[in-house]
Amino acid sequence: MTKLLFWLLVLGLFSAAPSTATPLNDQRTLQQHFFTQFPTLSRQDFANGVYALDPDAKQSWLAIEQFPPYEIAIDRGKKNFFTPFKNGQRYQDCFVDYQQGISQHYPYWDLKTKTVVTLSQAINRCRQLNLEAPLKPTAGDLIALTAYLAFLSRDQPIAITIPPIPAAQAAYQQGKDYYHQRRGQLNFSCASCHIQNAGKRLRTETLSPLLGQQLADIPT
């Protein structure tokens, strides 16, 4: 659960959340921090994560993009997405707007259940509505489905809104606290690397800036 809230924070920072002072202020402060720190990068460049900063990594990335291995997962996800359930319904009946791309709206605050809902959870809700067993978070089929849906959202800006209600704001705050909590052998927080030291090297890795980080950048 904490992890979900964490992602709500990361993604939520870039939303144009109306009339919610705190997340919006945080977003502006962070954007300013990164625009000042990396004056040569355009706002759009940040979407490329570490590849905007590291020419070596960018070269490898572009070479891999020539025929990316993730196409295999996307093909599998696409096939699953259009395969009917036992009751004849399909995923597309749950996600009617899928063609326009939907993953940029996840995670979102669900007003009914008062929880943060990720795309994976939404897929499992769709399955349960159609009397199918939920998929494990680590299941290849679930990962492939999210990969396909994320691919349909390619080049769409993240569009997450945090409603101005205390419970949603608290979830945001919990995620923010998690991001700043120091832990582990090196006593680093997420922020140590991706806010304070973004662009510097940790061993041979360039640290990516928080601004522009997407689900695809989840560290394993």
């Binding site: 990594a57 490898s60 891999i64 291995p69 061993r203 041979t204």
Partner: protein, 158 residues
């Protein structure tokens, strides 16, 4: 399929076609030997020097500027390193790609017919920082070029 050919050759030999069979095998270029098995011996070596000897039979390598290897200086992900090789050496028959410090140094052997250019891409795994060596067999000589690629565990992921 190999079996069939062996049996075929055996049969040919027994009926007295020894000269024809052996000359056919010698004359046939590397790329046309379509039914050769995976060279288990070459991939059995865990040490670079032994792997190299398996390839060249001890023949010296010649450094060549006519081989261009494109590979990142620093690997972002040791499990997926894009690799491209091109060469202008005439009559290239084979290309070997080795990662000196991998548990199995020989990564791949390409056997080229005259219908293809020496222009190849692949993606390699690397266990640790190491030299990557590309060898081109052309005109009976082994030419090479090498480059060091830095690999470490990721800062976050490990």
């Amino acid at each position: 399929m190999m079996q069939t050919r062996r049996q075929f050759i055996k049969k040919t030999l027994t009926i007295g076609g020894a000269f024809w069979a052996s000359s056919w095998l010698i004359v046939k270029p590397l790329w046309a030997q379509t039914e050769t098995l995976w060279p288990i011996g070459l991939f059995a070596h865990s040490k670079y020097q032994a792997a190299l000897k398996g390839i060249t039979g001890g023949q010296a390598l010649i450094a060549s500027k006519d081989i261009t290897m494109t590979i990142p200086r620093i690997a972002e992900n040791g499990a997926l390193i894009p690799f491209t090789l091109s060469s202008t050496l005439e009559k290239a028959e084979r290309v070997f790609v080795l990662v000196k410090k991998n548990p199995v140094p020989l990564v791949a052997r390409f056997t080229l017919s005259p219908q293809v250019n020496t222009q190849l891409s692949a993606r390699l795994k690397m266990a640790e920082t190491s030299k990557v060596v590309s060898i081109v067999l052309a005109n009976g000589q082994y030419y090479y070029t090498d480059k060091t690629v830095k690999v470490t565990l990721g800062g976050c992921g490990g």
